[in-house]
Symmetry: D2
Subunit: 330 residues, 4 copies
């Protein structure tokens, strides 16, 4: 089978066939050597980062993180809960003088317990496997055990996620009146290109870029309540964009949705087939649940869709993902 | 009492008196309005960030985070444990086909449970109180309850921690042969200035800067084992640097030590008296347990001690601190 | 005001007045000395336990615990989540030989993170306060700080919860056809007595007994789904049963509902007013979310409503409650 | 190879051979049917429990649980931490009136995060595997995945752990002066029998009993500090007791040590070889870190070593073990 870029040509009954074809066509195993652990993040080099820093004109910082708290979208699917934040010491105790410290000092400490996939996040390369294999052709069980990701843990990306960011506001492009694409809408490669053309030259996408795709899904969840934001229907990238993601040589991609790709997926019985192609095969780092709404406003006002993006992972040893507070600096 | 900048003049028996004098002298309450929640981070403005972005010459990124894992320095003091990272799904399970997903996709998810003060971190303004009061003159019990920091939670800093960073390598300056200052050594304001002078003009410190002070303490812990790194003896800033920290109008400061200030503290019976002055009174955001060793090498090689620093907090609602992966971009 | 035992006489607009009156009338402060930390559990003595052991006739054990897992009733109210159980080591890893152990041994370990109030539980005496006061007249802030319950922690009950148990199946008594009392129904003292009379002499209630009241609420939740089981409407004890609970000199009481007392509560604007009387004032240990359905069947079959009950708390130092697997031994 | 009951006959270089021989000789797979999930707990029947209840003479309850808190023995081996107990609400907050509840009610809630193997515990049948196999001959990976123990989870024991308990105070028997056996001492089957003979008829051991073996290791840890209590040297059962454990048809066994069997183990390079025989092969439920000191006193005073033992697991779905507060009722 040859990969298609036209969703109409997908055989809804054959996810396995389409996945195998795309995996074969867009696989980057070995491209950066046998020992590689960061995949397409290799596309970002010093020159790219210099260019990215040069994009800062205003000095405006926009945080692209959602809040990390109990009021998040998670409902417990596969034990994904919302973050539970508890205090080890409080101001109430300090004010009452109950802490046992000298000379009037008081303190507050706290603890977080959370799935690394609960809110604004990066999916690491150990997050998804294809038929038992992980990134670069390793056996899944050689990579991620109960001890964590022994090979491609998120700590390897600690100094990698700085580059030129480009926002593609597909929500505004496809639905100018509302800025929000309806659930189940599969964004195609052609639409990505058309959005770039419409937004103009500052949104051109190329090697080493981190591409941010706004669908408007989060904006709707903010207005209507979470509902099924976590795992339910949403606009997102079509399975058929795998080729675009591959040939553009982007370093990473992130969306304002739970799952990056369109949901329900474009096959009759499927689960995140585009993930299965791009993470273990292409080695692409994927961001989810980013908040792109204020950034969209800032870009539109300026007519400028590129910026310095720093989106540092927390280097949790062996993690298959990381919470992140991405900063767009315009 | 008038604050002194000479450690020899401290009355070791009177921490309360010295704290009260310094608190009075260097208090910034009301400086940014009654409602302010970020303190000296207000010193960072768009112009500052533009300048900071302009410092990027090489495109080199240095991560200043320690690893977040069970092999950290914590020993349980006040229930501060090391991070516990566990898996919800693994590659072993995926490879064995036990996950119940279609078309050969497999996945790995994970969970973290950790004190926000366990490793490389920012102390938020709700982390320390002075005689029952928190930043900007609020009652401690009005600010931080069991529900978290209701006023100055770390989420308010989500887009704030981007500025010019300056590394002051006091370890190399004071102990050129080893690069490591001995435990209990109190770094003075005069020494900070002398280090700046020695390092040259790229290390000048002024309004809105984020100052990083390297003592070499972490380098020694790496070589010798953690020992008492968390809470035990260490070089650090003298209590008498409070005036320097105030008049320099820096936005934030961070060190490679557990506790930022010298330990044991410079009074007979005391606990972190400089914290008590600078966090609730001055409104200074303080970073601890940063890894400054590779950055020191990079700066020394270049003879350049300034850089773009992005050190985004994870916006955990109501948190009094945040784990952070600070990135120095040179 | 004099406490009433007739719900019709309650002034729905004056919860505070009724609470104050009942607290005054039924307060046990000082009854077991100034230093007492277990309240009505003092009613259980060796003779009582001997009697209780003598009730075992069949050797049948019925567990009264619900399952502790993610499929529980909690929805996040006040950060009460369902238990999150994760694995540190798995059989999949062991079978694959990835654990690094010698001679073919493999192991599985696991971790639990859960609110102590999430499922079948005992409320400790530090769980509820009345106008700033805890059990035995102590200031609430002297008893429970961020460090936990420093005085009446659940560990003090470690060897206390063995006694004669008595099941009062109010569900079957009041609603013989369904065995389930409708939401919002307030069970009165008169009904408790009538149920005892109907069930016969084995259900007489007296000093040191642990009384189990079945409403049928859990049975319905099992059939219909959790819905608002946790915190929503339910049958339960009327506020007016406080006198009955006091004069019966029972050691503890437990129900098959989330909150022991009727919900909505019997005042216009109120929250668990009976708790406010019985826990901090009477010193009564209260169990919630117990599973009494199989026990009800076993008792009905035998025409015998008394049994040996062991319901050991897990002695978590400073806890204000404990998960429990209560065992009725008939 | 034939299993030996004489430690002198063990070939220290061949743990695998001895394990295979003992596993073969003492394997109970199929004894209670193909679907069995509780192993030797099947030896406890109603008659046994009636007998056990009949042993209660004084009505004295002794809790056999250690404290569950940060001051426990764990040091982080395989991410086994001590319990972390945190508050969701406190008395300090309640007293200050900051909780938002009506009519003066205040509350405290709390959370626990802990490994199920951190303190006084039962090892479930899914805790240990032998060459890739779990209890009753199932593949380890079919039993315990990242989702937990799908087959023999601890919830299946919820109503099982009530029986006649027998204390064998080997510490007092072998070391009458101190009551504490030195580290590395392997208790043999002959010594178990001799202890029973010395203690007299109330300590006879037979089908369905739960045997408690006191070594004095915990008493020493209490006196000297934890040191290497968790995982370090200790007296314990010899590998050669497997036959005794099998033919006695006991339901379960527990000790006052971290690891039940002697440590260091009796082979040159080994890890818990007796576990490997008795848990997955024999189907024996094993308790560890029990506190048997007060019970030993109570038994010695009475010259009576048998009692009703209730040691209910918390039915955490899919758990491979459970914290427990065992109660001996004399």
């Amino acid at each position: 089978m040859t990969p298609t870029e036209d969703p109409q040509e997908l055989d809804r009954a054959d996810p396995a066939g389409h996945i195998a074809a795309a995996a074969e066509a867009y696989r980057n195993w070995g491209r950066w050597g046998e020992d590689d652990v960061v995949g397409t993040l290799n596309f970002i080099d010093d020159a790219k980062r210099r260019t990215a820093a040069g994009l800062v004109q205003d000095g405006l910082v926009v945080s692209l993180a959602q809040s990390f708290d109990m009021d998040g979208p998670q409902k417990g699917w596969r034990r994904r809960t919302n973050p539970v934040h508890t205090m080890l010491d409080t101001g109430t105790d300090a004010e009452r003088g109950a802490q046992g410290f000298p000379h009037g000092i008081g303190g507050a400490d706290d603890v977080i317990a959370m799935p690394l996939q609960c809110s604004t996040q990066w999916d690491g390369l150990g997050h998804i496997f294809d038929r038992g294999f992980a990134w670069n052709g390793r056996r899944a069980g050689d990579v991620v055990t109960s001890d964590g990701d022994l090979v491609t843990g998120i700590e390897h990306t600690a100094d990698r996620l700085v580059s030129r960011g480009v926002l593609l506001d597909l929500g505004a492009f496809l639905r100018p009146e509302t800025g929000e694409i309806e659930d189940g809408y599969a964004i195609t490669a052609a639409e990505l290109d058309a959005c770039i053309a419409a937004q103009g030259p500052t949104s051109g996408v190329g090697r080493g870029d981190i591409v941010l795709v706004r669908t408007g899904r989060l904006a709707r969840a903010r207005r209507e309540g979470w509902g099924d934001y976590a795992g339910g229907p949403s606009a997102g990238l079509s399975f058929t964009t795998a080729g675009w993601l591959h040939r553009s040589e982007i370093a990473a991609i992130a969306t304002d949705t739970w799952g990056f790709e369109v949901r329900p997926n474009e096959f009759d019985a499927a689960f995140q087939p585009l993930h299965q192609v791009v993470i273990p095969n292409m080695g692409l780092t994927v961001g989810e649940m980013w908040d792109l709404d204020r950034l969209a406003d800032a870009c539109r006002e300026r007519g400028r869709w590129e910026f310095l993006l720093t989106a540092a992972t927390i280097p949790i040893t062996g993690a298959v993902g990381s919470p992140v507070n991405p900063l767009a600096i315009l």
